[in-house]
């Protein structure tokens, strides 16, 4: 048996420079460029808004990482470097659109008004999902890779059945955006989602953040050609966008959502970006990737380029940036203090949320548990009497 395998990549599959087929509207230097098919339809105020969104997202992200280091969170999955992909797409959502995220879409959550503390609850271990997925239109984080893409597709099939497609207005029409990672594209569920979405022509956008890594595995392990090309074989268009360019992401996502709402079916967007941090706080990327790579991507930082644009091409001054920084610090402090104040949940309440209609045996188990728990505490009797509810 040979120890290492020869590299047999067949002819016709050189990957070439990744940037070639990339939609870009704002260069890393902060210069706006044209693209034949896509244009950013917002004004400078909108761009400033993106800057604020991305900066606040990053600040909360940093704070969460710090909280984890201090033992306040069990884990944190940072979105560092992916802010443009998340804010650009999140800000493209219409009022009726909904989101099916992975576990890393903190920026998208922000655009839908999800309280960051609610994201932290999951990573602190007080809750498996603590924001309202219906009111926020931001579904719960899904940890099993790829599973949410099918949920998104089914939800989109429901939208069509509800007659929410094809009226020609984002006020009347709805679409779904399903997020996934580059690694996720290998999961059978994702391909099945592509099949169903295509077969039923569902109003959905699959938004793949190709951050180049699935924990320690580089994108080449999952695909030897650009990921956006996967879609064509399932019968719908795919497009690769510079995932560190909030303007391009916004433009591409807007168009794809519009296509979905109008009844023209699914689109796959590959946002070409980079996971600038570790996979999660449990991970040690020095084991598998070179520092060089990170340096290369730092030059393409999604926030820096918007700032450069605003500084060079608008009259946004240092005061404005300072104000955002201050706002960010304030937000971080608030998130931190509310995180620290989170009460631990009470197991007793969980017996009641396993089912909508709780069976007898779970009621008995709850009672047993409470009696047992209370046998250790003096105040036990009182707590049991008042029937403490789950407090997450």
């Amino acid at each position: 048996m040979s120890d290492t395998l020869p590299d047999h990549r067949g002819p016709g599959f050189p990957s070439g420079p990744a940037e070639v087929d990339l939609v870009q509207l704002l260069t890393p230097e902060g210069e706006r460029v044209d693209h034949p098919d896509y244009a950013f339809d917002g004004d400078d105020a909108a761009i400033a808004g993106f800057y604020r969104d991305m900066l606040l997202t990053r600040r909360v992200d940093t704070e969460a990482t710090a909280l984890q280091r201090q033992g306040e969170l069990g884990l944190w999955a940072s979105c560092l470097g992916q802010e443009a992909a998340q804010i650009g797409s999140g800000r493209a959502l219409g009022p009726l659109d909904s989101v099916f995220p992975t576990y890393r879409e903190h920026g998208v959550a922000w655009t839908l008004g999800v309280d960051p503390v609610n994201l932290l609850k999951l990573f602190r271990g007080v809750s498996h999902g603590s924001w309202d997925p219906i009111d926020t239109r931001f579904n719960l984080y899904t940890i099993v890779i790829g599973a949410q893409t099918l949920h998104a597709t089914g939800y989109a099939m429901g939208l069509e059945r509800d007659g929410l497609v094809g009226h020609g207005s984002p006020e009347k029409d709805a679409a779904v955006i399903g997020y996934l990672g580059d690694g996720a594209t290998s999961q059978g569920d994702v391909s099945e989602a592509f099949v169903f979405a295509s077969s039923y022509n569902a109003p959905i956008v699959f938004f793949c953040q190709n951050n180049q890594w699935a924990i320690s595995e580089p994108i080449e392990r999952q695909s030897r050609i650009p990921l956006y090309q996967r879609a064509a074989g399932f019968g719908f268009p795919g497009v690769r966008v510079d995932g560190n360019d909030a303007l391009a992401v916004h433009a591409v996502t807007s168009k794809a959502l519009e296509r979905a709402r109008s009844g023209s079916g699914p689109t796959l967007i590959e946002a070409y970006t980079y996971r600038m941090g570790a996979h999660t706080t449990s991970d040690d990327p020095t084991k598998y990737r070179l520092a060089d790579e990170l340096e290369h991507w730092r030059l393409k930082d999604p926030i820096a380029r918007v700032r450069a644009y605003l500084e060079r091409h608008t009259d946004t001054g240092p005061d404005w940036f300072a104000a955002i920084d201050a706002e960010a610090d304030e937000l971080a402090a608030d998130v931190r203090s509310r995180c620290l104040a989170l009460p631990d949940p009470d197991l007793a309440g969980l017996f009641d949320v396993v089912y909508a209609d709780t069976p007898v045996h779970l009621r008995e188990q709850r009672a047993e548990y409470e009696a047992y728990r209370d046998s250790f505490t003096e105040a036990g009797q009182d707590a049991a009497a008042t029937g403490t509810e789950v407090a997450w």
Partner: protein
């Protein structure tokens, strides 16, 4: 009152569910024009349209996963898995998503989904078409699991399952699809998660569900000729178990035999034996005995009659129990 086969009773029940609530949708492979390989959905696509009776691409994870999404959108999907052995590609969606969504969201979202599975053997089929996967689901917190054993229950239970706000794995004993009974569409049904004593008796309790209820009734009839008075309980609900009925019966008879087609090891008989022993320790005259499939994959059909519990094996266990 209409005389219906179980397949037709299920069809009628599904029809009523579709009529009762516009949010009810059916999905599965070949359930449309073909009406499913067992014809349980026959005519429903014609009458309710392709938007409500959905022929799915050939992908079970896709069927259940998209149904999760439809449920999140307010629908009540009823998914058909074509045969027991083909539920496993959907297992992740069932165990990690369907079962956990209500819990994950602290009750904010519900999963009113039914997963219909024709199950069990005895129809002379090839591999993967005769299995009894109930343990996998009953062990999974967040799912409810029921099995019908006759057309009357089939008619009512399918409607109750569709009306349930919790996900229900609905097991249909495929070899009983063609057995007939009078179904009274005006009657008021037994609650979905209650067991029923289908034959009262004093000497021993036979516990069964799905295809084995008839086998146990036949065994009880045969035993009666030898002067033995066996009680037969149709469990109907495997999760949650209606332990009150089970324990009540065994407290009276002092003996229990559990019968199922699934392999013995960690079959439903294991849980029932453990529970009954916990709750009836002093009442038991004999250990709870189990009659099940042997601990092997389902065999080729020419030998399935040897594999499946039958009247004789049930009576053999009854003898052994009474010998204590």
């Amino acid at each position: 009152m209409t005389r219906l086969t179980m397949a037709k009773a299920l069809n009628a029940g599904l029809r009523r569910a579709l009529e009762a609530d516009p949010k009810v949708v059916l999905a599965g492979e070949d359930i449309g024009k073909l009406g499913g390989v067992f014809r349980v959905t026959e005519g429903l696509q014609k009458d309710f349209g392709e938007a409500r009776v959905i022929d799915s691409p050939l992908a079970e994870s896709g069927i259940i996963g998209t149904a999760v999404g439809m449920a999140l959108r307010g629908y009540r999907p009823v998914c058909e898995i074509q045969f027991d052995g083909f539920v496993f590609p959907a297992f992740d969606q069932i165990v990690n998503q369907v079962a956990k969504m209500h819990y994950r969201s602290r009750g904010r979202v519900r999963m009113p989904m039914v997963i219909r599975i024709p199950f069990g053997g005895g129809i002379g089929a090839v591999e993967h078409h005769s299995e009894s996967p109930e343990t996998y689901f009953a062990h999974t917190a967040g799912l409810k699991v029921v099995a019908c054993s006759n057309p009357v229950d089939a008619y009512w239970m399918i409607q109750q399952a569709v009306a349930s706000d919790d996900p229900v794995v609905f097991l249909e004993p495929k070899r009983r699809y063609h057995e007939r009974a009078e179904v009274d569409e005006q009657a008021s049904p037994v609650p979905l998660h209650s067991a029923t004593v289908v034959r009262p008796g004093r000497d021993l309790t036979l516990l069964a569900y799905g295809p084995m209820v008839k086998t146990c009734l036949d065994a009880a009839a045969a035993a009666a000729e030898e002067g033995r008075d066996l009680e037969v309980v149709d469990l109907r609900s495997l999760s949650p178990l209606d332990l009150a009925t089970v324990v009540g019966s065994v407290q009276r008879t002092g003996r229990a035999v559990v019968v199922h087609e699934a392999p013995l090891n960690l079959g439903m008989g294991a849980e029932l034996s453990a529970r009954i022993t916990e709750q009836c320790f002093y009442a038991l005259e004999a250990p709870v005995l189990r009659v099940g499939g042997y601990d092997m994959p389902y065999p080729p059909s020419r030998v399935e009659d040897e594999y499946l519990p039958d009247l004789d094996r049930v009576l053999d266990a009854v003898d052994r129990s009474l010998a204590y």
